[in-house]
Structures are given as structure tokens and as C-alpha cells.
């Protein structure tokens, strides 16, 4: 890889990274908070690549003279950086879904936290993780009869008594994703298909087979959220 190829690669990676950060697509791979950093990183790379490219295109003679006794070449391995670039240009792989739920450890998180009782009356939206943690705290005593609203994708389809929804938590990127899950029971009509995103309103219905259950009062299919992780 010579100087201008290297610079062009750096420029391309930078531009792609910056572009990725201003679309919503990056949220499928890393935490949403990383967005501004990706933009900064992409800008820096693009600037460094452009500077090198301009220099070797405008003043090739100087470059040659300067690199007289030095290795003017970068190792070939740099070419591989084009692999993720090309992959992103062509396709944007989806966020992790039901396939990965089956392959990661499902954590019913007993965080040891003691939760205050939910306010009576209005429906409370909460993350699946909090739902699981509240379920683990004194067998879900904090729920009372308050309806909660959960959002996730269908991980296991209807087995006759209910289906399982899940949502991943990520700390940094999709590689460290851990799923929180809940079982939805009491749905009448057609149950949603695998990987369909849903918002369910219902009341806590105990823990069966290690999975906290929600007795659904209302179920809506929704498009995948911009940030697919909690």
C-alpha cells in the first residue's frame, strides 16, 4: 500500500464513519452516546487522509526526495480496513435479533435493588431490564396492579400459552449485548411473528419457568425503534 492509496483509504474510512454517525444506522452497532465521537473520529480521519492525498498528488517529487532513505510504504494489511467500509456501503446489517437471544445468556437480573411501589393509576413505560429486576425484587411486589408498557421484539413465537419478547442492553457495542426477556400471556387474536417489534401494555403476572410474565391488555406492532437497545 503506497502513500496515496493509504491516504485514500484513511479518507474513505473517515468519510464513511462521519456519514454513518449522522444517519441513525450506527445505533444498530454501538451505543447512541457514541454518535458525536464517531463524527469527530470520522472528521479527523478524513482530514488526515485528505492532507496526505493532496500532498502526494500535488507534490510527488518532494515526497520521493523526502522518503529517500525511509520506508515510504505502509504494510498491505491496511487494505483490510476496506472490508468494513465496503460492507457498510453495500448493506447495513440489522441490529441483533431473536437469533442472538438464543445464543446469549438470558439474564433474569436480580440486582438486589429494592424498588418503590409504582404509582397507581397511569400506565408506566419501563425497560425490559427494569421489568425483570422488579419481578426479581420480592416476587414483583412493587408492581401492584399498575399497568406497565414494555417494548421489545418477539424472541420466541406463540406456543399456545404466550410468547417471549426480548430487548438487548449494550454497554459499549453490540458485541457485549445481554438480553432481558419477558413472557407475554393473555393475547387474543393472532400473535406477532418472530423478530416483530411490539409495544405491550399489561400487568405483572408472576414468574413462570424463570420468566417474568405480563398479562397483556393491549398489544401493538411497531416499526423497529431507532435505538434498538436499552
Amino acid at each position: 500500500m503506497n502513500e496515496e492509496t493509504g491516504s485514500a483509504t484513511v479518507l474513505l474510512v473517515g468519510v464513511l464513519l462521519a456519514r454513518l454517525s449522522i444517519t441513525d444506522i450506527y445505533a444498530r452497532y454501538v451505543r447512541v452516546e457514541m454518535g458525536p465521537w464517531l463524527l469527530v473520529a470520522g472528521g479527523l480521519l478524513a482530514a488526515a487522509g485528505l492532507a496526505g492525498l493532496l500532498r502526494s498528488l500535488l507534490r510527488p517529487h518532494e515526497t520521493v526526495l523526502l522518503s529517500d532513505h525511509h520506508e515510504g510504504h505502509t504494510e498491505r494489511i491496511g487494505w483490510l480496513l476496506l472490508a468494513p467500509v465496503v460492507a457498510l456501503l453495500m448493506v447495513s446489517p440489522p441490529a441483533l435479533g431473536s437469533y442472538s437471544v438464543d445464543r446469549s445468556t438470558i439474564v433474569i437480573d436480580d440486582s438486589g435493588t429494592t424498588f418503590d411501589a409504582l404509582p397507581r393509576g397511569a400506565t408506566v413505560p419501563m425497560t425490559l431490564l427494569e421489568f425483570d429486576q422488579r419481578a426479581a425484587d420480592h416476587a414483583g411486589a412493587s408492581f401492584g396492579t399498575t399497568p406497565v408498557e414494555l417494548t421489545g421484539f418477539v424472541a420466541h413465537t406463540d406456543d399456545g400459552t404466550g410468547f417471549v419478547i426480548a430487548r438487548f442492553q449494550i454497554a459499549c457495542c453490540a458485541a457485549d449485548a445481554v438480553a432481558a426477556v419477558a413472557r407475554i400471556v393473555g393475547v387474543t387474536g393472532t400473535a406477532p411473528g418472530r423478530d416483530q417489534w411490539v409495544t405491550v401494555v399489561g400487568t405483572f403476572d408472576g414468574i413462570t419457568g424463570g420468566l417474568p410474565e405480563l398479562r397483556a391488555a393491549d398489544l401493538r406492532a411497531i416499526p423497529a425503534p431507532v435505538d434498538p437497545y436499552e
Binding site: 503506497n2 484513511v10 452497532y29 510504504h73 494489511i77 448493506v91 446489517p93 454497554a171
Partner: protein, 334 residues
């Protein structure tokens, strides 16, 4: 992974005979066009959940590492361009036995994760720092910096001893590996390889050229490592290790190996460790100490930067020392 110097025309011919300065541009542009042409085929492949999951993990690991890599090559570029040779080595104690702990402690000042410290360690060696000290820095920096310790504290609420244990065990392992490396006296493993130096010129240009070179080199190996980690994560379900949770010795080994194959960012691994509740705390400490020091992504980066023969000795050595330090610290503190 043999990296032969790719010398081209202008080095053999003294005249500036680079006839096609835009060749690289053409190749890069051709790849982009090819990508667009092949798109439908790849979209088809992504219907398979295993392929989709692999490519998501591959991109996730690569993308989240890039900002940290840039931080690393900014420092490595600055070392090459702005710091006079020998200056950093002069800052460290003359005696190796003191230089190693000093360099390991200095690692606390680099707020990043493991990808960024590889190019820095390589430049430190080039700048005349004794390899054992540079390696101690390489191991400690991603494990004991304030950001990593803070994220560990957040992931283990109410268990401050976990943070202390991570700090103590990681620092001890970095120093121990540095000292063992001194005793081994195998600096030849990393000395034989051609080292890239920027052409002398204006300092800003040297800085940019070094940063670009180091980014391309580390980035290329990062892609190899990310592909390996994504493959292992896709092929080996995490639940496999659950079988070893009940036996303390096996659980230590299982989580040590899991840290190697998951290749998590050191700023995120504490959250995964916190979720591995079925394992004893000491085994989870092993996971946190091994991860930033040895994983498939790092092995690829180290093999690329210091040579495969180096990595073949260094990675197993580090793994054994890291597990030992974590177990001893866990037995003492947890």
C-alpha cells in the same frame, strides 16, 4: 501474516519515477464500484440470521474501536514527530526493575481501551524505551485507567472491592509480565522486524504520516481480530461456559477463555461480567483482568505490530500471569 517490505519502483530508481500517482485512488474507487455491483448478492446473504449476526458483531467491534484507535495513533504520531528520540526513555528510571513498574503505573493516565495502546507501545519501543517497560504499559493502560475503573464501579454497585481488586490484579499482572519478559531476555523476538519511520520533514507532516501509517496498520489487524471475535461469538454460544459455573477451578479457566474469545472493549467488559451472576466473584475478576490483556483482537494486533513469533510467546505468558494474579487477588480481597 508475514509482512514483506513492499518496496516499489521509486526506491530502486532514484529518479521520481512514480508514473501513476493515482493508481491507489483507482484501486480504491474500483473496490467501491465493485461493492455497489455485488450489493444484491450480499443483501440475499443477510437473510440468513447467522450471517446477519456475524456482520453486525463484526461491524460493531470495528466501529467502536476506531475512536480509541485514533486516540492511540494521535499519541503514537506525537511521540514520533514531536518527542526527541530518547527523551521518554530518559524519563523512566535507568534500572529495568524500576522502569517496568513505573511504565505500568503510567498506563493509568491513558483514558482508552486496548486497541489504542498497541501502536503507542510500538512507538515507545521505537523511541528507545526498554521493551519490557513498553509491554508493561501496553498491558496496564487499558485495564487501570480512570474510565475503565469508573465503568467497573457502575457495573458492580455496592461492591467497591471489585474495583480495587481489578486495579491491583491488573497492575500486578502488567508488572509481573514486564519482569518475566526482562528475565526471559527475548527482546530479539520483536527486534528483527522492519520498523516504519516517517520521512524527515516538517513536524506536522511527520505527525500526520505516522498517525496515518499506524492507523492503517493497527486498523488492518483490528479488522482481522474483529472478524475472529465475531466468528467465535457466532459459533460458540455463551451458555456453553455455564456448565463450568459450579466448579471454582473450571470457572476461573472458563471465564479466562471467554474473555479471550469475546474480545470485549475494556470499558464495557465489566457490564458483561456483572451479568455472569452464576459464576463466583473471583472467576469474574479473572474475566476482567484477562480481557484487556489477551483476546483474539489483541493477539491479531500484537502479531501484526510486533510479529507473530512475539505474539506466540507473549499471549500465553500474559494469559497465565493474568489468571494467576487475578486468582491471588480475588482470594485476598474478594
Amino acid at each position: 501474516m508475514a509482512v514483506t517490505p513492499t518496496r516499489t519502483s521509486h526506491e530502486r530508481r532514484p529518479t521520481p519515477a512514480r508514473g501513476t500517482p493515482a493508481t491507489g485512488l483507482v484501486i480504491v474507487a474500483a473496490l467501491v464500484v465493485l461493492a455497489a455491483v455485488l450489493r444484491p448478492f450480499l443483501v440475499e446473504l443477510l437473510v440468513k440470521p447467522a450471517v446477519a449476526s456475524w456482520s453486525t458483531l463484526f461491524l460493531a467491534i470495528t466501529i467502536q474501536a476506531v475512536p480509541f484507535l485514533i486516540l492511540g495513533v494521535t499519541v503514537s504520531g506525537a511521540i514520533a514527530a514531536f518527542v526527541p528520540p530518547g527523551r521518554i526513555a530518559a524519563l523512566l528510571p535507568r534500572r529495568r526493575l524500576l522502569a517496568v513498574p513505573a511504565a505500568a503505573t503510567a498506563g493509568a493516565a491513558l483514558p482508552g481501551c486496548e486497541c489504542g495502546s498497541v501502536p503507542i507501545a510500538s512507538r515507545l519501543v521505537a523511541a528507545g524505551v526498554t521493551p519490557a517497560a513498553a509491554l508493561a504499559f501496553l498491558l496496564s493502560a487499558p485495564a487501570i485507567n480512570p474510565i475503565v475503573l469508573a465503568s467497573t464501579a457502575v457495573a458492580f454497585p455496592g461492591q467497591p472491592m471489585m474495583v480495587l481488586a481489578r486495579f491491583v490484579a491488573s497492575l500486578a499482572a502488567a508488572v509481573a509480565v514486564g519482569l518475566v519478559w526482562t528475565a526471559l531476555g527475548r527482546d530479539d523476538l520483536l527486534a528483527t522486524r522492519r520498523r516504519w519511520e516517517p520521512a524527515p520533514g516538517p513536524k506536522v507532516q511527520m505527525f500526520l504520516a505516522t498517525a496515518r501509517h499506524d492507523f492503517l496498520q493497527a486498523g488492518g489487524y483490528l479488522v482481522v481480530g474483529a472478524a475472529a471475535a465475531a466468528t467465535l461469538q457466532t459459533l460458540v454460544p455463551r451458555s456453553v461456559v455455564d456448565a463450568f459455573a459450579d466448579n471454582i477451578a473450571l470457572s476461573v479457566l472458563a471465564l479466562g477463555l471467554l474473555a479471550v474469545l469475546l474480545a470485549l472493549c475494556s470499558e464495557a467488559d465489566a457490564f458483561v461480567a456483572a451479568g455472569l451472576k452464576q459464576f463466583p466473584l473471583t472467576a469474574r475478576l479473572v474475566f476482567l483482568v484477562v480481557g484487556p490483556m489477551v483476546d483474539v483482537k489483541l493477539i491479531a494486533l500484537q502479531a501484526g505490530t510486533f510479529g507473530p513469533r512475539f505474539a506466540a510467546v507473549f499471549a500465553p505468558l500474559t494469559f497465565v500471569v493474568a489468571v494467576a494474579c487475578a486468582v491471588l487477588t480475588g482470594w485476598w480481597l474478594l
